[in-house]
């Protein structure tokens, strides 16, 4: 009578993923699929060494927005409170996309840059590493 869903293990993304042990077939749609965002997508940006922004910023953006527009229209206003933001040249900075080093094409869209829904971008601005030698 009771249907066991787990524990079953399988390989995924090189990590062992287990399955929930439940009374029935326990399966749910991910709540944050891109189609739930009304044509938009999420992207997270962290300015490394600037913990004045306590966590990576969660941004709601158009997938066909250019990388340059992401910087000029979204990121720059979001980090304007930091005194180093006026000196930061984000287009000439070092970028990481989902953990891999990455060279953005400023005029290509986010999608064409490979920045898909819920991607994580980390930007390092050489010479600007936050305040008080503490990455703030």
């Amino acid at each position: 009578m009771l249907k066991r869903a787990g524990p079953v293990t399988h390989k995924n993304n090189k990590v062992m993923i287990m399955s929930v042990n439940a009374l029935y077939d326990y399966k749910f749609e991910p709540r944050d699929k891109v189609e739930n965002f009304n044509g938009m997508q999420l992207v997270y940006v962290q300015w490394a060494g600037h913990l004045m922004f306590c966590a990576p910023l969660a941004l709601l953006v158009k997938p066909d927005m250019s990388f340059r527009a992401l910087i000029d229209d979204v990121l720059k206003p979001a980090v304007a409170a930091h005194p180093q933001s006026v000196k930061a040249d984000f287009l000439e900075a070092q970028w990481e996309l989902n953990g891999e080093s990455f060279t953005p094409n400023a005029d290509a869209s986010l999608v064409d840059n490979g920045i898909d829904h819920k991607s994580m971008l980390v930007v390092t601005t050489p010479g600007l590493d936050g305040m008080f030698n503490t990455g703030y």
Binding site: S19, L23, A58, N98, G99
Partner: protein
């Protein structure tokens, strides 16, 4: 009517009123009556081995609790009649109560629901009775906490809609998701999560700071609630230890399952308590002890002894306790600076600690406060003084499991954010730590459906696209009253007036109402 032995002795009474309430079913199968008892893989060989160290029966329970409550409400009444709120150390303290009422009292209610449920699911009568009594305790605690704090609601902002906020406000999804995770687990995991990991291992870190904090800051209503709940809490803690020993003694196959639950619920509890860390170090005008000291006493020492004791069952201390131990030097500061920048969306105020408070922190956190955090507050204070009070106007990334913004730093490097991400069935997921990432990997189906407040706002499910509408209409946080900086807030002005430090503000109707009340009464 002649009755021999009119009065039962305690042992017989307990036997009659608990164990003898159970019977062996004859026309239904036991597993059909208790369908949730076996699917988690926990093997119980003999329920009669369950020891209830308190041997409390229902008749004694009602009598004892009714007496306690009568005294408690007498003190609440006296507190209200004497305007007890005017005697607290400083109105900043009330912000700790706002956090408690929205983040903790609803958990007591969730615990009531959880224990009611598992109190039906065990085939052992001793365990069922213990859970049922704890369920009633939790319901009482939720109610008496609300009554203890209701007086403050007449005089301060942000306390008006706790139950509604608990279901919606971004940071309150941290406690809510914690308890929902436990309540949707099987009965043995629920007890390991709440009775053992939370009530036994970690509860002192919640209860002692809040109740001692109330005492230190002259909040007689809340401290009296604390005294009244103390004997219940002692019973809950004992149940927590009994539960774990009972499960471990029943079958060796239970050990790895329980270990995984201890790892999970230690970490989830630790993340939840990060809210308490900032309350202790920042929201109590008169400090009890630092978060680091509390962690040392209640986790490193007491927890250390406990896990040494559990070693004989094959249980080791929880995974990542080294990360939690190291984090004690940073936790409260990282939390407070987070709430400082996002208090436009909270029902409580934040502020820069005073000079004296910063000196206290330098003393309590000699290796970290002056190096990392004092310069930040000095910078933020200067910004504020120059008319640029800092608010972060962009929503933060949240951890998929604990739902706290991914704000914590790596062990050993307080300049580097701790962040993990994985791809699962074509979707990307982000985590604050290895600990939360592991929990996801064990049961991804549970967390892919997480209701993350930031993503819900962006999906348009919170009554508006801009933060202001969400905060006012969806959260019921009154903009300009409940939220933003403490200095200059209506609460602050009212307090200055109460203390005779400032004239009554023109047009501040609430202040007028408040201070005229004692005369009118």
């Amino acid at each position: 009517m002649a009755v021999k032995n009119k009065k039962l002795n305690l042992k017989d009474k307990y036997q009659y009123l608990t164990r003898d309430m159970a019977w062996e079913p004859t026309y239904q199968k036991k597993e059909d009556i208790y369908p949730d008892e076996s699917f988690e893989g926990i093997k119980i060989v003999d329920w009669s081995q369950w020891e209830d160290p308190f041997r409390l029966t229902m008749d004694a329970y009602w009598k004892y609790q009714a007496e306690k409550e009568k005294k408690l409400y007498a003190i609440f009444d006296a507190f209200a009649q004497n305007n007890g709120h005017q005697n607290i150390t400083d109105a900043r303290y009330v912000n700790a109560l706002k956090l408690f009422l929205t983040a903790v009292s609803p958990l007591e209610h969730a615990a009531f629901q959880g224990y009611s449920k598992v109190g039906r699911q065990f085939s052992g009568a001793g365990a069922r009775v213990a859970c049922q009594m704890q369920a009633i305790d939790e319901l009482r605690h939720s109610q008496t906490q609300q009554h203890a704090m209701s007086h403050y609601n007449k005089h301060f902002n942000g306390l008006h809609d706790a139950a509604h906020m608990y279901d919606r406000v971004w940071f309150l999804s941290v406690p809510k998701s914690f308890f929902d995770d436990a309540r949707t687990a099987g009965p043995f995991e629920f007890l390991t999560a709440i009775s053992f990991s939370f009530e036994y291992v970690l509860t002192n870190l919640l209860f002692v700071p809040f109740m001692s904090g109330a005492a230190y800051n002259n909040d007689m209503a809340t401290v009296t609630f604390g005294f009244s709940a103390q004997s219940d809490e002692a019973r809950h803690m004992t149940l927590g230890l009994e539960v774990i020993k009972f499960i471990l003694e029943q079958h060796e196959d239970n050990v790895p399952i329980v270990q995984r639950w201890i790892d999970k619920w230690f970490w989830r509890g630790f993340r939840l308590l990060s809210l308490v860390s900032m309350m202790m170090d920042y929201m109590l005008p008169k400090k009890v002890m630092s978060w680091a000291e509390a962690w040392e006493v209640y986790y490193e020492q007491n927890g250390g002894a406990l896990f040494k004791d559990l070693e004989r069952y094959g249980i080791r201390p929880p995974k990542y306790e080294d990360v939690a131990n190291e984090a004690k030097h940073h936790l409260s500061h990282q939390l407070w600076t987070t709430f400082y920048q996002y208090c436009q969306a909270t029902n409580f105020h934040t502020w820069i600690p005073t000079e004296e408070e910063m000196d206290w922190m330098s003393e309590k956190y000699p290796d970290t406060f002056d190096k990392y955090y004092r310069p930040r507050y000095e910078f933020l204070a200067k910004e504020h003084a120059e008319g640029r009070r800092y608010y972060n106007n962009t929503l933060p990334q949240l951890c998929q499991v604990c739902q706290v913004p991914t704000l914590f730093t790596e062990k050993g490097d307080a300049t580097k954010l701790s962040h993990r991400q994985i791809e699962h069935e074509g979707e990307r997921y982000h985590f604050c730590s290895e600990g939360c990432c592991d929990i996801f990997k064990d049961e991804p189906e549970k967390y892919v459906q997480a209701w993350l407040p930031v993503h819900q706002i962006y999906q348009g499910n919170c009554e508006g696209g801009d933060l202001e509408t969400v905060v006012q209409n969806y959260y019921h946080i009154n903009i300009g009253e409940d939220n933003f900086e403490y200095v200059g807030s209506p609460d602050h002005k009212r307090w200055q007036f109460i203390k005779g430090m400032a004239p009554q503000q023109k047009g501040d109707d609430q202040a007028e109402k408040t201070v005229q009340k004692p005369n009118a009464a």
